[in-house]
């Protein structure tokens, strides 16, 4: 029998981590406008295997994360597939807020402590997916943060192996808003169908299929 759905509201300026087993999916729903949910992904069985954004983007010829991309580890294996979203752009090239971004503008915080709880440290950081954020280049490579998301925007991500998900809801460092009102996120974890032969992530590109094949069993 499938495990029931679990729902957790994570407030703005908080951090959280959870293991999402293979065969489950995670749904993130923004609880406010211009949300930023910075996310790190690791193989739960061995966190030395972790999300690799350069490999994910270059294998699938994309400048951003969006359905039906497969989120690939540095070992060429699927961690997750992005199965749906109300948005066609989630940033992955501009990183997460550092303490000094937040404290410089809004005063001290202790939000950046979650990794230590898990035994991870600076050496385990990698490029985050910043769900709900769009920072797009112009033709010359100059980047600009854009008003992009509103409350209710969502994304669904299917775990392709047991995945440790670490997320933080600090405002994106390029978000120019002067007000301290970081959006929270509703995290719903529930059952997911295994990707069949016609799965959009599998049929997207040969590269996506090979990363899924590497975790098939």
């Amino acid at each position: 029998m499938a495990l029931p759905e679990t729902v957790q509201d994570v407030p703005g300026a908080a951090s959280w981590s959870l293991v999402v087993p293979r065969g489950r999916a995670i749904r993130l729903e923004a609880l406010g406008d211009n949300a930023c949910v910075s996310t790190l992904l690791y193989a739960a069985a061995d966190p030395l295997e972790r999300l690799n954004i350069p490999d994910t983007l270059k294998a699938q010829m994309s400048a951003c994360i969006r359905p039906p991309l497969v989120l690939m580890s540095d070992l060429g294996r699927a961690l997750c597939s992005v199965t749906g979203s109300s948005l066609d752009w989630h940033d992955a090239i501009t990183g997460h807020s550092l303490d000094r971004h937040v404290t410089g503008r809004f005063g001290p915080s202790d939000y950046a402590t979650n990794g230590r709880t898990l035994g991870l440290d600076r050496r385990d950081l990698h490029a985050t997916v910043n769900w709900f954020v769009k920072v797009a280049p112009d033709g010359a490579g100059s980047l600009a943060w854009q008003e992009h998301s509103t409350a209710g925007d969502w994304v669904t991500v299917r775990a392709e192996q047991d995945v440790l998900v670490v997320l933080a809801t600090a405002p994106h460092p390029l978000d120019p808003t002067p007000d301290w009102a970081p959006a929270g996120v509703r995290v719903t974890v529930g059952p997911a169908e295994a990707p069949g032969p016609d799965d959009p992530s599998r049929t997207f590109r040969a590269e996506s299929a090979r990363a899924l094949e590497a975790v098939a069993r």
């Binding site: 270059k58 010829m61 060429g76 490579g141 090979r210």
Partner: protein, 201 residues
Amino acid sequence: MTVDLVVPPGAGWIGEVPAGQRLRITDLYGNQAVDTLLYDAHDYANRYSAVDTIREQGSLYLTTGSRLLSVDGDVLATIVEDTCGRHDTVGGACAKESNVVRYGMSTRHQHACRTTFLRQIALWGDGLTKRDLTHNINFFMNVPLTPAGGLTFEDGVSAPGKYVELRAERDILLLISNCPQINNPCNGYDPTPISLTDFAP
């Protein structure tokens, strides 16, 4: 320390560059990707961060004046000269595993940059492991991202003799792989040697 050497494709180099010293990387034959990582020589965890470098400068590409930032926001080095004009820091390093994803199982045993990185840090010792390999710079490589969200690997914008020169802004450890990738245009399908030359402050 004096550095004046030629690095063939598939080979690498690791060494300390003291604060104030300059190091020139020359693309001797053109269209050659040089995968590069930097570390604070006194705190390897305070290492190069591609995403912080991109974000803080509001630019995808590296060129003269680009400050190469660490995870803690420190300037590890500055690009002080650049006759090429554009360098990538989005595309990462090739690895045997990602070669399989991108080009199929027949490339499984081709040499790749991550293997060079792992070999060099093993030779260096000092506690460096795979955990210390992060998203790197690809000097002389051209990976344009488009406003519509696309990404392509283009022919290099480099040419024989083009060079880039770094100035260390603190004592840094520099790790280089001269990319042996033969499956895409980043090395013109024909990897070639580079040279490394340093200049005292």
